[in-house]
Structures are given as C-alpha cells and as structure tokens.
Subunit: 306 residues, 2 copies
C-alpha cells in the first residue's frame, strides 16, 4: 500500500476514507483534520485559553500534542484518582503526563483527589452502596466535577476531552438501547457554556481509536498503555466489541453511525430535551459553589460529606 | 420451576417478567396479554373486520389462532411468493396456512404472485440490479403492496402482521445505526389509516420469539419450521444474534429497549418525521390505483412493467 500523497510506503490505511498515508503525511493529516473539526463545530479559536483533560493515556496526550502543534493556547489538567493497588495506575499515568508537559514546557494543573478531598476513588467506592460499575460512575462524577471547577476557577474558555469515535459510538449505542433522551440530545462535539458550566468540546470525536493510537506511536509519545483496572467488564467495553465486529464486517459503520446521529440531532430528533444541566442547574452548592439541580449539597459534595 | 398461578410444573419461565407458568395457564396468559396490548395501543375492536397477513410460519399462525380464540372477526391473507427452488418453501407454507384455516373454518384469501403478476419473487430478483439483500427488499415491496391492496379492496378495518419483539428490536437497532428518522418515527405498534393506506397493527410486538414459539408448540399448530432460504445472511438475522447475546447476559434488554423507545416516541422524539407514506403519498398509481409518492407508476407496478 502506497501513500496517496507521495507514493512512499504507507503506514496506515483508513478503509472508511479509502486513504493510505506515509508517516510524514499522516502526521500532517491528523492535525489538519483536527483543525477542520474544531472549525466545523466551532469549538474554540486561537484567542481563547483552553484546558485539556489529560489522563496520561494515548488519546489525551495526542490531543494535547496536536493542539500545541497547531498553536492553540492549551494547558493540561491531570487528576490523580489514587488508583494504585496491584498496578500503580494513577502514579504511573501522572508521571507520563508530567514528562509530556515538561518536555514541551507546557502548563499542567494537577489535582490529587486523596490529598485534596481526603479519600481516593477506590476508598469512596468501597464505602458507597451502588450497583455494578459503581467505581466507574463515582469516578466519572468526581472527574466531571473537578474538570468543571478547575476550568471555571482558572477562567478557561473551553474544557476539552479526548473522546474518540470509538468512545462516542459506544456511549451512543448504550444511550439508544436505554433511549436516554437527555443524553441522546447532548452527544454533540461541542456543548456551549452556561449557568456555571464551562464550554465542553471533543476535537477527536471523528477519529477512530486506531488513528489516534497510530498518531501517538508515530510521534513517539510515551503514555500509560494499561487500561484502568476498573474498566474491565464495563458495559462500554462490551459494546465496543460489538461495534468493532460490525466495523470489521461493514467498514465505516462507526463513522456513519456517528455522523448520521449528528445529522439527526441537527434535524431536531430530540427537541424536548435540548435543555441539559446548564438549564436545569438553577441552584448552587453551598459548599463548593458549583451548579446543581438539587437543593443543598451537590452530588460531589454529598459523596465526600458521608 | 412451578407455575405461579397453580403450583403445577411450569413449561415456561419468562425471566424478564419473573413469571413461570404451566401449560394451561400459559395458554391463557398469552391471549390475555394480546388482548391487553390490543386495547392499550387501540389497535382494533370486535366490531371491526381485520385481516392478518399469514406466512405459514409460527408467529402469524399463532396470531391468527389467538385472535380467533378471542372472538375477533379475523380473516387471513396468504401470499405465495413462488420461492420453490431446493425447498418448496412457498408451496409448503401455503399448505400449512390452508390446513390451519380449514381446520377452524376460517376465511383465507390467497394471492399467487407468479400467477397474478407473471413472475415469482426469485424471477424478479434475478433480473433486477439491486445490491445485497435485493431479494428481501423486492419481496418486502411486493408483500406490502399486496397487503395494502387486499385490505383496501376487501374493506378491512385493519391489517395485522405478526412481528414479535425480536423482529421489532432487530429493525430498531438497524434503524438507530442508520438514524433513519422516517423509520424511527414510525415503529409504533399501530399506524392509523390514511390516504389509501389501511390501518396497520402488530399485536405480538411485545412477545419474545420464544413466547410465540412456545404458544404454537403447546397449541400443536403445524407450521413451516424452515426459514425462507433468502433470509440467511440478512442484516436482521445478524443483529438478532447480537440482541440475543445481550438478552442472555442482561435479561429484559430487548423489552426495555422497545418500551423505552415507545416512551421516547411518546415524549416527542423524531417529531419532524411523523408524516409517513400516508401524508407523503399524494399521487395515485395510474395502473393499480394505490397511493404513491412519485408521479407515474408506483414502485410495485414499475417492478412488473420492466
């Protein structure tokens, strides 16, 4: 297989685009495409200060790298969740995030959940009575809270996550199986700021996971290769397997699924539910000051007040 | 496992309902539930004349049997598609439909596609240039046309098909993967009559396939057990396998998926597309007189005019 642009040996073939590229042209193509998505979905611009949520994994470091190369004013936010049992998952991933930032002289904000709030994610999960997947749901709640609080406190214009197409369609499949209209109405690549919530954007939402993986590999970015030990057996991984099989047998399935969904949203498929937390969160938490839909403590502060 | 109603040995356990029943109580339960769905979704009543599309398979004969037992004014419609290659699929299924009707002294209308229109389904498919699954799509078009034409000509109040929950969720999954808004807006258990189209209803839409199979078996109804030879490799069968696996691992998945979808429709999801063929089909075909969205011949008459 040859590069479509120069005829050199290709390093990647993207069946859904019928496009093969060599290393150099791929390392141009992925940032070019990212720039295209940022503009297309009006995510942010070069005058704005943006914050990327960095886990130390391949997608978030690749996103930070791409935005830095493209000349955006982008800082990183790393949250140490205290997941350090058999594998020192959190500490190792923090090292990768720190090494990445210092090599490029980029600013990394670090929050340590245990040091700052008194308990690690596994410790909270250990005392909470929730069903299956409780660790992941608690972790999601804690991260969303800290992401937003940090973005608001430091005055960033947008908060970015590195969700890729594989992530987005797995969530989409789960949400269509449940017909969660609130969630289905809000699966956009960018969500505007409002009522104490920062603008959120996902510049990698149209890249397959193998595309971001190839980028990270070719750029020789060091990252934590292990999955979080709590992710095993999650519903998202379960649906990812099915989606991978469909993609293998019908190339382009995931991208079509996602793009057709965005068109459906654009055509007003879920009109009643366009209001999300921004519109619903009329109250402020008396402890942290963040918006909440309930009277009294927000879900995050309730978690730590027990 | 014991019957919840009488304590006798149960013949079926429906995990999603946490309900086990003996033969006699199951043979009461399924018609009772059917009656409940007919009323709940306002499908039709005992003063109306209804027509059930009968394939000779287990679901459609079970539906006819249930409606006959419940005292509805129900006739059958059998379409011989001329699928008689290695296996005399059409002729065998016709025999089952005829035997069923004559044993109960029920009226069965029979249409033979080859005799009436000059070509069988495989013959049409053989000369048509369509992609994968073309035989199934042509067959669907022909059946829908004949169903509607017959229902209208004979003045039936409603046309019924025996789609079960497994059928409905497989179509639903395919439609969400494509985000076909028109189809998603119209996956209701009953669609009203309008502009030359008969009312359509699916009284078995909430039964798992194994439930209608158990009913057919326990009632000792003879049916064609073989699948249509063209169904092998269809996308619907493909998605059914995935849905079956999800159901095995998370009992109730299919029913929740379908009921949550109906709730979503009820809450106004897909509003732009509530208009279906009824609203769109402003023209009449000059040959058959049936409604069509195009000027000139309808799709059915175009198929046979080539």
């Amino acid at each position: 297989m040859r590069c479509r642009k120069c005829g050199q040996k290709a390093v990647i073939h993207m069946r859904q685009h019928r496009l093969a590229l060599c290393k150099n042209h791929y390392l141009e193509w992925l940032p070019d495409q990212t720039e295209r998505f940022i503009k297309k979905y009006q995510m942010f611009n070069r005058h704005e200060r943006i914050l990327v949520a960095v886990s130390g994994g391949k997608d978030s470091l690749a996103l930070w790298d791409v935005l830095w190369q493209l000349g955006y004013q982008v800082d990183g936010l790393y949250i140490n969740l205290g997941i350090n049992a058999d594998l020192a998952y959190s500490d190792l991933s923090q090292e990768h995030a720190l090494a990445f930032a210092s090599a490029r002289e980029l600013k990394l904000i670090t929050v340590n959940v245990k040091q700052q709030f008194g308990e690690s994610i596994p410790e909270i999960a250990g005392r909470e009575r929730r069903g299956q997947g409780k660790t992941c749901s608690i972790c999601g709640l804690v991260k969303r809270h800290i992401f937003n609080q940090t973005a608001m406190e430091y005055g960033y214009d947008a908060l970015l996550t590195a969700h890729n197409l594989d992530d987005e369609v797995a969530v989409l499949l789960a949400n269509t199986l449940d017909w969660s209209l609130n969630r289905l109405a809000r699966g956009l690549p960018v969500l505007p700021a409002g009522s104490g919530f920062a603008r959120k954007a996902k510049p990698f939402c149209r890249f397959y996971e193998r595309e971001t993986a190839a980028y990270t590999f070719l750029r020789e970015i060091q990252y934590i290769a292990q999955e979080c030990p709590y992710a095993a057996g999650s519903k998202q991984l379960y649906y990812k397997q099915d989606l991978n099989r469909w993609e293998d047998e019908m190339p382009g399935t995931k991208l079509r699924y996602y793009l057709n969904y965005l068109s459906a949203l654009n055509e007003g498929a879920f009109p009643q539910r366009q209001e999300g937390p921004e519109e619903l969160a009329k109250q402020r938490c008396p402890v942290c000051g963040q918006p909440t839909i309930t009277c009294g403590l927000c879900a995050f502060c309730r978690l730590f007040s027990k």
